[in-house]
Amino acid sequence: MNLSQFFSQHSNEILQATLEHVWLVGATMLLAVAVGVPLGIVVVRKPWLSRPILGSANVAETIPSLALLGFLLPLPWLGDRADRLAITALTLYALLPIIRNTAAGIAGVDPAIREAARGMGLTPRQILFQVELPLSISTILAGVRVATVLTIGIATIAAAVGAGGLGEFIFRGLAMVNNRLILAGAVPAAILALGADLLLGIMERALRPAR
């Protein structure tokens, strides 16, 4: 039985696992953006908080993913459900690029534009929402893109705690020394990553402000 036959025979299972994978990554990214963008704004606005925030996000990045899942497992509410646990761990990984790019995007807004906005009587909130965020949207999206591709890869580890996704095939394949099973997880994950990269790349270019 060659690989394509194997894939078509197991297409239902692969599709199921892919959808689980997309759910894990999608939920992670929503959460990571909801947390990371505000943190990125805080990093620019409150310089004394920039070290602790970026430092923590950096540390989270350095913890091996299996170990991070292990650390979070005994926590009361988090450890109760596998997908909850996995999404939390994945979010911690996804934060750094989003925080960093949000901060870089806002810091990169032309000071003359900010000065004009202040001088015209925009409130700090209006400057943020009408000027700074729209002008940094493509930089923020670049961070989301890096984080998404990263998360699609790391999410395969979520299967280790029973959160499902394409990692199921990879772990099973490793246990059974079955390359086709490993590929059944790895190939769709790679396609997902490429697709997300392409799509977010297009959005990023489309939203980049013209100069």
């Binding site: 003359a112 001088g119 009587g121 002008l135």
Partner: protein
């Protein structure tokens, strides 16, 4: 305090500096003990070299900064007693790089302050048309364009239109024509001079260009090293014996002589 406020109004100052100083947190003094009044309807030009404190003085008027000592009054009220947002929307502001929002069309840029002030939408559209026409741009042609699709001179005109949008009684301009090439600059200056006469606004301009100051000013406030060296009408300025003013005038005459081939 009431007495002082009344005194400001009596002197006819729509903007008044009273012993105003500004220091950076580092202790460096950018402006020291400036006192004078801008009269309603005049065009006052801050003239001086870079670092003379002209821009600092301008930024004190719309409360982008607060004086470290002394006070600045706008319409008889101390700037620190104004709500900064209300004060800034009450004063038009044009800067050298124009500061147009690159992600807004010309229409959105010009309508910015009216929208912030929640004008009814049906009033905004005619206003943007009127303003573009006022600064010499065809509304039909330009309203939908983005700043990067405009020339430097056109951007500057849009910047002026934006500053005038909510009809502020006071207009502040920081090196408004500084980024333009000499020809466009001369052209826009002349147009602005005509516009100035029609509008009758109180205008405060910062420039380092003597001929620009002489062309546009009702009075020139000569600045040097954070100090006000004197206030002159253009005629007085050219005849002044004050060393700094005389140096500017001499430089200008030398330049004119050169142009005439003498």
């Amino acid at each position: 305090m009431n007495e002082a406020v009344n005194a400001g109004v009596d002197r006819g100052g729509i903007v008044e500096f009273r012993h105003a100083s500004y220091q950076l947190p580092s202790g460096q003094t950018l402006l020291s003990n400036i006192s004078f009044a801008v009269r309603s309807g005049e065009t006052l030009v801050f003239l001086g070299r870079s670092g003379a404190g002209k821009t600092t003085a301008l930024r004190l008027i719309n409360r982008l900064i607060d004086p470290s000592a002394g006070e600045v009054l706008v319409e008889g009220r101390r700037t620190i007693d104004w709500d900064p947002i209300a004060l800034r929307r009450h004063i038009g502001y044009v800067i050298q790089e124009t500061g147009l929002f690159p992600h807004y069309t010309v229409e959105q840029n010009v309508a910015l302050v009216p929208r912030l002030e929640r004008w009814p939408e049906p009033n905004i559209r005619p206003r943007t048309y009127e303003l573009l026409a006022l600064v010499g741009l065809d509304p039909g042609l330009f309203l939908k364009r983005y700043p990067h699709e405009l020339s430097g001179g056109q951007r500057q005109r849009v910047g002026v239109a934006r500053a005038l949008a909510a009809d502020p009684p006071i207009l502040l301009m920081d090196e408004p024509f500084g980024a333009l090439d000499p020809l466009t600059r001369a052209e826009i200056r002349m147009e602005f001079q005509a516009l100035q006469k029609r509008l009758g606004k109180t205008i405060v301009i910062v420039t380092h260009d003597t001929s620009e100051a002489l062309l546009l000013a009702t009075r020139i406030a000569l600045m040097e090293a954070g100090e006000l060296k004197g206030l002159y009408s253009p005629q007085e300025f050219l005849q002044s014996k004050e060393p700094v003013a005389a140096a500017y005038a001499a430089k200008l005459r030398a330049l004119e002589g050169f142009e005439r081939g003498q």
